[in-house]
Symmetry: C2
Subunit: 512 residues, 2 copies
């Protein structure tokens, strides 16, 4: 089947989508139901604190063929998934589906469990490092289901993704399963991605390296949602949080793009009191936040909320009164964690509140400006942040498509060249964010506005910013890089890409 | 049918219970499922802030025969229900079921709506004042369903009580439906009873007299749970919160009982570091908190949590370090509201977290000592706080049966005489709390311990406290009061009393 973005969704992939193929960013309202949830009655004197992961897995009723879930707040520092799989393997359980919110290089060990049959399927909103590469090379028999962050919570809450047992790495827990992520040596700040799993899984197991006296003072996930608590030596390394995409750029081209982006923001109609803002965690996005911070102070613009993945530049903006509140699904650095812990104006929100399209209104719906990255972008502004030039998986939407769809002005920032590859192309390798939700592309060689947004074009024409059409940017790129060879992939599907509403947006084929 | 407490549940009442008759306090684990929930998809640019209650009712799809819900945090100061019913009446909608968490004298206006057919059925955990009296006199065709606070959340979450439209009085709201109860002129502190309604109703309408800029800084109920926001001039009067049962006793007999109770606490095995404590809001309970406060400071006992309905004495204890944390489902006075707003160690919890028996563990499960009131208590320690000497409804369990069941030592405090009526009786008019969950009775004439609790008896025998059997207390009472005439009631059932697990505990007949 061909979807609304002209992507061919093969029959083999259709079985993975319960909602058909993509038909436009705001066309499908979903089932408008939240699924029935299995619960459990815990009476007085019954204990929830167990002696081992082994005991918790036993009591959870986990069986071969079930789905287990993990959240990725510890990013490349996560040590919990490995501990859980080791315990599961010992029990002879296999054929599991891993429903992770994201996978990083630290999860490359999964290859062994896939080969040994403990793990059969994977779902993840984002994958990088060795595990992503192996999957691109055909490690799995069935495609990975890749969703947006909001789309995963949609799937969990609607029942599309039924989690049998959720394993929740918890930086602080009490014996009855109240959890927070701000206390303890493995604090990661916001518990954003774990809320829906805790609430909708049949069984939710908290794994902590910091058992605190009952009752926890600050609680993110409530005791009534957690079945068991297990203490381990270490759930992960805080240092692993600042990894991959979350480092500030020092590159002069990156800084040029960031400055241009901040100029676009400053000159837009959205840059006024009450302004709301999200940046990704990529280097250029972070630098954009720094410049925007400066302009807000210069122009005395006082925003309402900063959203996202929260980073130090956003914390600095909160501190300086540029925003009233930060709404945080994920802390990308230690400054953000500290701020969430100490500043009541820095508030964590669940990923569903952040961006689940099929709720009574997520925060992205009210977002003015989002600054997001791109690996590739096509002439219709469709964006790829999922696959690299060679076709291997190097990321995924995460919140990309969510923030793009919700925001009034979505700005994509990208170097026009990635080595010898052009960023603007005729056809992106993978679409994870539809062009109808992308408004502006900023590169070091100029700024292109989506022709759908004549209002923005008119606005920016009043400035001396280097406006170009996206076709002009593509020509510049091609003059330098030439036109890249068509990608060679196999017929095997490595992953299906769901849009945030659950429809099928694209497929990713295995590389040769 | 006869239940485990030997109460006759007539066939007419059986139809109201979906789970049969009461069979013991910890016998029934329920369905262990949370019900499927209708939701709604709100896309960017769609508004939730409406112009009037009328518009909200229109959009909610409310139809005759449906169930609408209200919470009672404003107690006798509530003005929201009246506004809602006026708007509903104008639309010609009738035969409604009102699922309130509690009704007070200020809700006596409901009589008119019942007589005019707008309202057909009522469910409430507690009823007092004119409306309770009218219902006792046969105002309704069908019995009121009276639950415990935890039992109502159980019913909502399991689907036994399906709320079509929840009307949520909100002291602070933003345009997208984030709510809190600490900001604004009608602040009532904790939103405890409204959480489940907001989450499980088909449509949740927030009614506020204090619209604040988006996003609210402190959020209790999240935007994804609220369909519409309506602004009215006033949701109620803060002064009405301190009413009825929430005034400190100055009566010397009451103070004597309170002191004896605090002595029981001090001499119990539970009075040590980590101790947790709940008092009701009755005058004697409040005075007990004061004495306990003193003893904790004297003995340097540092408790873990104070629970409940929170009052000034508990706030004072938190301030003085007697407790680490207060867990609050309902603020009973302005001191509690201010404390919740300003002290992060004073934390609101949903009523489900507080006391829903069919969850993965509510807070009452971990409670050491609860101090609760009684209108009547029988020789098996079964307690009535629902009906008065003349058989009319004057209250209801609220959290009474929940705290009794969860706590390790439940102390009931009561004057041995209420005017010419004895408090200890052969058979209580209504059972709302089973005797197997009640451990100690403290009166001005002596202390009786439930024979099931030999450990407590042994412990208190080491003191000079005036221990008696409950039969001895009854004899003292009878010597003064005589034995009261048997109550005359009609065959018509005014209310059925559900236990916290959903089983039928008792029925209340209409008075003549």
């Amino acid at each position: 089947m061909i979807n609304a973005l002209n992507r061919n969704i093969p029959d083999a992939a259709l079985g993975y989508g319960k909602h058909g193929v993509y038909n436009g960013a705001f066309e499908y309202r979903g089932c408008e139901k939240r699924v029935i949830v299995n619960s459990r009655t815990v009476l007085p004197k019954e204990k929830k604190l167990l002696n081992s992961l082994d005991e918790a897995i036993q009591l959870s009723g986990l069986k071969s063929g079930m789905t287990i879930s993990f959240h990725h707040h510890l990013r490349n520092g996560d040590e919990t998934m490995k501990k859980v799989l080791r315990a599961i393997e010992k029990k002879g359980i296999g054929d599991l589906t891993i429903a992770a919110t994201a996978l990083f290089d630290c999860h490359t060990f999964l290859e062994d469990y896939i080969r040994s049959g403990v793990v059969k399927n994977i779902q993840a909103n984002y994958m990088s490092g060795g595990i992503a590469q192996r999957i691109s090379c055909g490690l799995l028999d069935s495609p990975v289901i890749m969703r947006t962050h909001g789309g995963r919570d949609r799937a969990v809450e609607s029942g599309d993704l039924h989690v049998d047992v959720a394993f929740i790495a918890a930086p602080a827990a009490d014996e009855y399963g109240n959890l927070n992520a701000v206390d303890g040596p493995s604090a990661f700040g916001s518990f954003g991605y774990a809320y829906s799993d805790a609430r909708y899984a049949d069984c939710s197991i908290a794994i902590t390296d910091n058992l605190m006296p009952y009752p926890l003072t600050y609680v993110s996930i409530d005791q009534t949602l957690i079945d068991y608590v297990v203490v381990v030596d270490k759930i992960g390394n805080q240092e692993g949080i600042v990894s991959g995409t979350t480092k500030m750029t020092r590159d002069p081209i990156g800084r040029k793009i960031a400055k241009l982006t901040a100029e676009v923001i400053k000159n837009s109609e959205y840059f006024k009191d009450g302004f709301s803002f999200q940046t990704g965690a990529g280097g250029v996005s972070l630098a954009t936040a720094e410049y925007t911070h400066r302009y807000m102070l210069d122009k005395e613009v006082k925003g309402s909320f900063g959203l996202g993945g929260i980073t130090k530049p956003m914390v600095d903006m909160l501190r300086d009164g540029c925003f009233d509140v930060l709404l945080d699904t994920q802390c990308f650095d230690l400054d953000a964690i500290e701020s969430l812990k100490t500043n009541r104006r820095h508030r964590e929100i669940s990923c569903s509140t952040y961006s689940n399209m099929h709720t009574k209104g997520s925060v992205v719906n009210l977002l003015d400006i989002a600054v997001l990255g791109a690996t590739e972008i096509d002439l219709d502004f469709n964006v790829n942040v999922t696959t690299g030039s060679d076709g291997t998986i190097i990321g995924g939407s995460g919140g990309h498509a969510d923030a793009a769809a919700g925001s009034k002005m979505c700005i994509v920032v990208a170097n026009l060249f990635r080595g010898r590859f052009p960023t603007v192309v005729n056809e992106v390798t993978t679409i994870n964010t539809p062009g109808e939700t992308v408004d502006v592309l900023v590169t070091e060689c100029g700024i292109a506005v989506n022709p759908r947004r004549d209002d923005i074009i008119q606005c920016l024409r009043k400035t001396d910013l280097p406006l170009k059409t996206i076709a002009e940017l593509k020509d510049i790129a091609n003059k330098t890089c030439g036109i890249p060879e068509p990608l060679k992939t196999t017929d095997k599907i490595a992953a299906v890409v769901e849009y945030r509403d659950g429809t099928l947006l694209d497929v990713i084929n295995c590389v040769e």
